[in-house]
Symmetry: C2
Subunit: 310 residues, 2 copies
């Protein structure tokens, strides 16, 4: 039984980094989310594709066990995005965006999805996020992601959508932009004042910070040998995060911290290759190993056992 | 007996942030370093000031117990810097720099300083860093800081100075620039190949990362209520770091990790007010409290005690 769903985009991405270029590969928030979440838990996605969407991409998701009963197929072009990353991989230029059938996307949830406990509202139009919120009867945890475009063009709707979410994930600059505050702590609190019990501030290669009414948690990104493509890192993070929570049912502060580390582990695989290439082959054991690596990376004996030793 | 020294600048800073402006306040790497280090250990500084340097600034350092037997006073203008921070406080424009007597700085160490164990070579001309290295007989730990200017104009000299240091501290972008590598891990390793056993990559509001031949350690910056002025954060970090190491003598991997957290704690006070204002009043108890706060901020129970609990 599906107890975790993501509503977002499926798309075709043409990605260009200083090192490589790939064309029309599987992309979209729902794809990255689902591939990460499925390492932990059954997951279904609600998204739309056009008739140019390659069967191979559908096959990959099916083979991975992602539930596609909420996948809509419409006549027209699939959402297409092409972008070029700068040398530092932290900034990018969008070269082309064709919304295609995504422009008319109406997220209608299959009957079975309306009783799920865990919901990820990926970065789509806030009014569509609200439409989904109205269809899920009694969710336990709704995580909402957003971006600068909606802050600039749909702030009242975004505010309403955020107000109905339990956890908001947002980039550091966007959190500051939304709240008009420089302090990330103040910005997160401004969002929590709308209703959410926590905000996860995403900082790309610098990791993520949890601000919740139970405390703070800073999770640096792992120091990888090589980063190839940051596309989808945030959605993979969300997938590992919610997948782990859906698996364990432990939404305590301690559970949420562990979930953030699982999210960090998933995202660290995503960025190692272009598109979903690495994420699609990673195993649960590999993620667990990286979870332990994160623990090593951040832990220290706060109290010296002996001093004077060299 | 002084067992820790810093060689760097003392200066007058005019600082402008989106919130405040102060004129000709005490600045310079040696000032920030010494005020932080003195929370842990006796410390002496080697620096030069002109005859316009206010006695009040000297008094402050003396009152704090900083050893000034290596302070040179010369006829002329003290090093002056004025800068304006942008709204995000992560970027700044230099408005004016007058080197003054600093242009002719020759770091001559008092006899007693030549037998110290712990040395901080703040961000000065690499040839001067080498001159200091040649004066200290048998140091236990030499930490060297540098910047883009020397990478661009004095790379061979900087390479030589780095090669004789035990730990190099450097910004993320500068590490990439020096090594010509995007991966911070590869960049750090390129520096370690010169001789140092560790590199601390400084990332400003995103914290710092230790890359050493004994392992990695990621220390996120604390999430402060409010950041007022990042000036001197890196030197305060170095001061807390080396001050703690000089106090404990524990240069093991575990000790170095704890020292990084002490450095992070010191830097977190520095940025709370303009210039050295906050750092000059912070107490050891306050630093210890923030050390514990850091521990809370980054620790998590890696293994769930029970799942299914909410």
């Amino acid at each position: 039984m599906i107890d975790l769903i993501a509503v977002g985009s499926l798309g075709l991405d043409t990605l260009e980094t200083p090192f490589e270029r790939v064309e029309r590969v599987l992309g979209g928030s729902a794809a990255y989310f689902a591939l990460a979440a499925k390492l932990y838990s059954d997951v279904g996605i609600v998204a739309v594709v056009g008739d140019d969407f390659p069967e191979a991409h559908v096959d990959l998701l099916e083979r991975k066990g992602v539930d596609l009963s909420g996948l809509q197929r419409q006549s027209g072009e699939t959402f297409f995005w092409s972008g070029r990353y700068h040398y530092d991989l932290n900034t990018r230029d969008t070269l082309e965006t064709h919304l295609g059938v995504f422009a008319q996307f109406q997220p209608t949830l299959p009957e079975a999805y309306r009783r799920v406990s865990y919901v990820f509202l990926a970065n789509i139009l806030p009014t569509l996020q609200i439409a989904v919120q109205e269809q899920v009867a009694d969710p336990r945890l709704v995580v909402l992601d957003s971006m600068n475009l909606w802050i600039e063009t749909q702030k009242p709707e975004l505010t309403r959508a955020m107000g109905r979410a339990d956890i908001v994930t947002i980039n550091d600059e966007e959190a500051r932009q939304y709240a008009g505050a420089h302090s990330l702590r103040a910005a997160a609190r401004a969002i929590m004042d709308l209703g959410p019990s926590a905000v996860i501030v995403k900082k790309g290669e610098h990791g993520a910070i949890l601000v919740s009414d139970q405390g703070l948690f800073g999770a640096p990104a792992l120091l990888l040998e090589d980063v190839r493509d940051p596309t989808g890192a945030g959605d993979s993070f969300a997938g590992g995060f919610l997948g782990y929570l859906a698996e364990t049912g432990d939404t305590s502060f301690a559970g949420i911290k562990r979930a953030m580390v699982h999210g960090t582990a998933c995202a660290s695989f995503t960025v190692e290759a272009l598109g979903v290439k690495r994420l699609a082959t990673v195993t649960r054991d590999e993620v667990e190993a990286r979870y332990r690596q994160f623990f090593e990376f951040t832990s220290f004996d706060a109290v010296a056992v002996s001093t004077g030793a060299s």
